[in-house]
Symmetry: C2
Subunit: 220 residues, 2 copies
DNA sequence: GCACAATATTGAACGATGTTCAATACCCTG
DNA sequence: CAGGGTATTGAACATCGTTCAATATTGTGC
């Protein structure tokens, strides 16, 4: 029996999160279990349930840490590769850094998405951490438009796409055609997307407004 | 006890897959269990293990069916919305149809990705079904280039991006900024990407070759 | 028709999971 | 040093995937 009061509940929380991270790094998200975490920190399951609501809560907190780590990682790469330059280069730096993180910390990164969240309500603190990461993309794109809302739009589209390519890289699922370099794919996406965007901006106002084609995708 | 020989093992297989689909539709992939499937088809777990290697095998076969259904769905939308027209419209039709499928059959569709495959070796038949779906994208893009390999590249990048946007739509995860219309986002991606591509093709040869910028994303 | 072999089907068993909560062991206060 | 308050436990329950000896059912040969 661990001596009573040996660790504050905050210490136990941190120890548990450390242990959980280690387990996930070693065995992936499916390998994470309350009993393993408890054993790793030399406590029993019961104690875990005094500190975490349940396993989902623990998972979410691990993911929160991952978001922080990801944010720091992206910032570090930004600083090294010159932040102030043009948006295209800034986005490429971010995208490559994102993909590099996913490759380096695959299990942790995967867990962000494998864990089926109750879509309903993620806690506010989690959304905040998410927003911090996302803000980096928006900041990089800011020079493209003075319209903040439109910048958000563009950022969302672009980052969803980068994420899609990242998924493609990590899970070998769609490997059919020749195994193509992911950095090349990313550059292809970013440069072509931004080029298309710029081209229209020069003439009209945005890459999206002013299309009057008839609706597509109506049910058969 | 089910009467011996009442169903051939192929019949049992189909019944089990039907039942599994129903369970997934109702409770999602996490709700799928061997005992539930067995109970639904009025057999016991043991029988299931005579027909499927294990739960992973059953899962993979359900996913195989989903890929077939997705293929048919996409084809149907293509036929209705005029296939032969320009690549941009063709891709938009496909993308919107893909997203519509994900929305309509969310649990089934999610299961395609939630299920953590052993990346090592997916069976040949599964890769084939996957390739059939993917081929639709390549076919739609074929007019853009005579180079088949380059078409594959473009298809992969573009579809990974569409998939990323689809993910964004389905899992509410990244909802931070204003809730933006997904069809608009898709159109934004596709039209800008293809516009950027076209612009370069007119001058050089591709949207990707000929960039000589120094490497990006070096470790700090 | 009947016994026997062949086999389709069962379900108990095992180890693992998340979660709960009465029982316990410990520390601090008086 | 006695007692109360509480941190910690771990057995219990319901689930899970998976296995395999036991059993029920059928078809065959006589």
């Amino acid at each position: 029996m661990a001596r009573r009061g040996e660790h504050s509940s905050e210490e136990i929380r941190q120890m548990a999160l450390d242990a959980a991270e280690a387990i996930v790094a070693r065995e992936g998200y499916p390998g994470l279990s309350t009993r393993k975490v408890a054993a790793a920190i030399r406590y029993t399951v019961g104690t875990l349930y005094l500190v975490f609501k349940n396993l989902d809560d623990l998972t979410l907190q691990v993911n929160g840490r991952t978001l922080d780590a990801l944010y720091d990682w992206l910032r570090a790469r930004q600083d090294v590769n010159g932040a102030g330059s043009d948006p295209e280069r800034a986005i490429l730096v971010l995208a490559n850094a994102y993909i590099a993180y996913a490759e380096t910390e695959t299990p942790r990164w995967s867990m962000l998405f494998e864990y089926a969240v109750q879509e309903n309500e993620q806690p506010e603190w989690y959304l905040h951490k998410l927003g911090r990461v996302f803000g980096l993309v928006e900041a990089a794109l800011a020079p493209l438009s003075e319209d903040v809302v439109e910048t958000q739009r563009i950022a969302r589209v672009l980052w969803a796409s980068v994420h899609g390519i990242c998924l493609l890289k990590i899970r070998q699922r769609l490997i059919l055609a020749g195994n193509q370099d992911v950095e090349t794919m990313t550059r292809m996406l970013v440069s072509n997307f931004l080029r298309g965007l710029r081209r229209v901006q020069d003439n009209q106002g945005s890459g999206i407004r002013g299309q009057g084609s008839k609706p597509i995708g109506v049910d058969p």
